[in-house]
């Protein structure tokens, strides 16, 4: 076995009074892919940041090629060939793709930038991950999955010895993830050491050589990937068995009232003629490729962006939804797919975030802070939000816990119709199970639920009925036994359609 390139030895890390890593040991070897898995808040991201020198460890040692190092600045980590792709995007929104890819290491010819060369190389890196964005597009105009691909392209450009990827696939579709893994294979073959985290255990099984499981700030188990099944991994992470990930689907009564009926919904530039109905007790899945307009259609429905519809009915009443408050008044709620940009105020606390959307429910003229506190306590319990302290800045929560808080926030409005967009992005398998159960119970108690997800299994496991969108239109509807991966894909790409149409 080769010597480790990079190791953590008994690394502790505290934020103020809260210790989040309690003596972590990790070894990363050249030409090997190590998967770091664990529950939300277990300390994976923190451990990775310590590895890359983004955050100094409070105590313990970091060994590079067997030598103890202390990265005095980020620059040294990079100089040593260690590249980290953050869980949260690390791109400057106003800069273009090319500017971001070369940020901090611009190529120059003489005193001036060699823009042509940088553009050429950007294209090359992007082509390697099969991402078709123009290098001159500002990052703010990209979809989340394109941003992730740009992050990966950026990392590829840095010729890493050690590539650390924190949940790179959370916002990617299976197809995109497959492209990423091709690159990972190629890098592994050239002797790069790779570490990544993921909550998608199938991926871990597929791509990793070794697995390290973290729990509560410690590595509890490390094993070659052949020695662990997905179930074993899940059990090691969560500490209990999670084999029944999806709850049993309840039948929707044929005479259940229609809660929501949408007729001819147009969202200019994104979706056209979207019509569907949602019954009480039903979970309706919306599948489709990235860019098929699912998000925009639902945002348009909820008054979050400009849209018009021939007719929208809620509980049998025709309604006009022009702004978010209209939707909320009819107890129609939308959970955004982009928790960082649209979901949470990262520099505020959990309490403010939790109640922001439903503030009117907390007191009259003045906000009842006691009620808010109580709601937070309830949310923490119900959604198992793990934060070091109650008054933590939401930006300092782990990614998965942010997602849980976001879900809790939306639930504060007590929606009758809930639209969730990529609800389990970045959530660990144990909590996923809880969230699925939660959604299922919610449906069982007479609510209507729409689930948009790029995770095919999630849709198949949860939905009573599935709409498949393609290029802004509903391309097909599946129900019951007909909901299969193959059927969804067929509709999503259009049967026999030219594959170029994807993400048009």
């Amino acid at each position: 076995m080769t010597e480790p390139v990079l190791s953590l030895r008994n690394v502790h890390k505290s934020f103020g009074p809260v210790e989040v890593l309690h003596g972590v040991d990790l070894d990363i070897r050249a030409g090997e892919v190590l998967a770091l898995i664990g529950e939300n808040g277990a300390g994976k991201s923190t451990a990775m940041k310590c590895l890359a020198g983004y955050q100094p460890a409070s105590s313990g040692r970091i060994l590079l090629d067997g030598e103890e190092v202390s990265f005095a600045s980020l620059h040294e980590g990079e100089a040593a060939g260690i590249v980290l792709i953050h869980q949260e995007f690390n791109l400057a929104e106003q800069l273009t793709v090319e500017q971001n890819i070369f940020l901090g290491r611009e190529l120059r010819r003489g005193l001036l930038l060699d823009k042509a060369e940088m553009r050429r190389r950007s294209r090359e890196y992007l082509a390697r991950v099969k991402c078709r964005v123009d290098p001159d597009t500002p990052v703010s105009k990209l979809s989340n999955s394109d941003k992730q691909m740009v992050e990966i392209a950026k990392a590829l450009g840095r010729d890493a010895r050690v590539l650390i990827m924190d949940e790179p696939t959370a916002v990617l579709t299976n197809a995109e993830a497959a492209i990423l893994f091709e690159q990972v294979e190629a890098l592994r073959a050239t002797g790069t050491a790779i570490v990544f985290t993921s909550h998608k255990l199938g991926e871990v099984k597929q791509i990793a050589d070794r697995v390290s499981v973290m729990r509560d700030g410690m590595v509890v188990q490390t094993a070659p990937v052949q020695d662990m099944s997905e179930d074993q991994m899940a059990t090691a992470m969560v500490g209990r068995d999670v084999s029944d990930l999806y709850p049993a689907k309840a039948e929707v009564a044929a005479d259940a009232p229609v809660l929501l009926r949408v007729d001819g919904l147009d969202v200019p530039g994104f979706a056209e003629g979207v019509s569907f109905a949602l019954r009480a007790g039903e979970i309706l899945g919306i599948a489709g490729l990235v860019g098929s307009g699912r998000t925009e259609a639902m945002e348009g429905l909820c008054g979050l962006r400009i849209a018009r519809a021939d007719r929208t009915e809620i509980a049998g009443q025709s309604v006009q939804i022009r702004k978010p408050s209209d939707a909320l008044r009819h107890r129609l709620c939308y959970l955004t797919e982009d928790r960082k940009l649209r979901g949470l105020l990262l520099d505020k606390g959990m309490r403010e975030n939790l109640t922001l959307q439903a503030l009117a429910r907390f007191g009259g003229l003045l906000i009842d802070q006691k009620a808010e506190d109580a709601a937070l306590t309830r949310a923490i319990r119900e959604f198992d939000i793990r934060a070091g302290r109650r008054d933590v800045r939401v930006g300092n929560l782990s990614g998965g816990n942010q997602q849980k808080l976001l879900l809790a926030k939306v639930m504060q409005s007590e929606p009758q119709i809930l639209i969730v967009d990529e609800p389990t992005r970045g959530i660990d398998i144990g909590t996923k199970q809880q969230i699925y159960a939660f959604l299922s119970d919610l449906a069982a108690s007479g609510h209507g639920i729409v689930v948009i997800s790029s995770e095919m299994q999630e849709i198949i496991g949860l939905a009573n009925r599935v709409l498949v969108m393609r290029q802004g239109r509903i391309a097909g509807e599946l129900a019951g036994e007909a909901i299969t991966e193959e059927a969804i894909v067929r509709h999503a790409v259009g049967v026999g359609a030219d594959p170029k149409e994807r993400a048009a």
Partner: protein, 333 residues
Amino acid sequence: MASETVNMPERRRKLPSMSVLGPVIALLVLVAIGAMMNPNFLGAGNITNVLARSAFIGIIAVGMTFVITAGGLDLSVGSMAAFIAGLMILVMNAALPVLGVGVPIILLGMATALIAGLLAGLLNGFLITTLGIEAFIVTLGTMGIYRSLVTWLADGGTLSLDFGLRTFYRPVYFDGILGVSWPIIVFALVVIIGEVVMSRARFGRHCAATGSSEHVAHYSNVNVNRTRLATYAMLGVLVGVATIMYVPRLGSASASTGVLWELEAIAAVIIGGTVLKGGFGRVWGTVIGVLILSLIDNILNLTDLVSPYLNGAIQGVIIILAVILQREAKAKG
């Protein structure tokens, strides 16, 4: 698992952070210096003077706190105050033959000020929110406009309230209840209401959310444009209130009224700990900022240690020091 620690709300009383203590300490140091330099400094007369003259900027700065918290800025407040004062004087003088000296005409003047303030604030807010123009440019523009208008109304000179009216209106600045003069009472009320709205009412939350992230606020059912518009309107009304207190003092308005009030108000807001880029504001901090600024002037007038030419330099140094105190400590804590 770690979740147990979560449900134990921290009840340990900790020392307030330096970002909270900083401005307070700066203020106390100034008071101590003042008291050492001049025995009259802590006299009732001087305290009343300082508080009463802080009231104008103070009332405006409370409104500015909301505007800045919601991610905006308003450079026009000084000119707006001058314009409103001029308008108020013109209206009252014009109504004098009809209404005569008495309470009705004062009420008319007050209504004029409040309505003019509201409209001016709405205009700023409209241009900024609905047309989506940078607040800096809009309010720089309206600053020039109001300043010009008052010069023009006054024909380059000074608009003066009719003498009889002035005598009648004067008590609004100089008298009060139980020895506390009206501007101080009104200032205190504005501050209390402002603090409550900022920290305990929905509107304050919405301002902070809007300033922190427009997108998130929008997705959280906050009407971002309306919130912004409301902060400007509120600031406009408060400029009107400040003007109502200002006019009885000297009974006049001219092109030089309210010059640089905008900078003073913004400085007070930031010294008080509100974040210029928006997202976080505190009204009580603003009050401390205003008092710090007024005290610097007051102390400089009460002592003659330095050449008056250097007053501005000392002011500058103290402003920076007051904020260093706060930030330095913050970095540590």
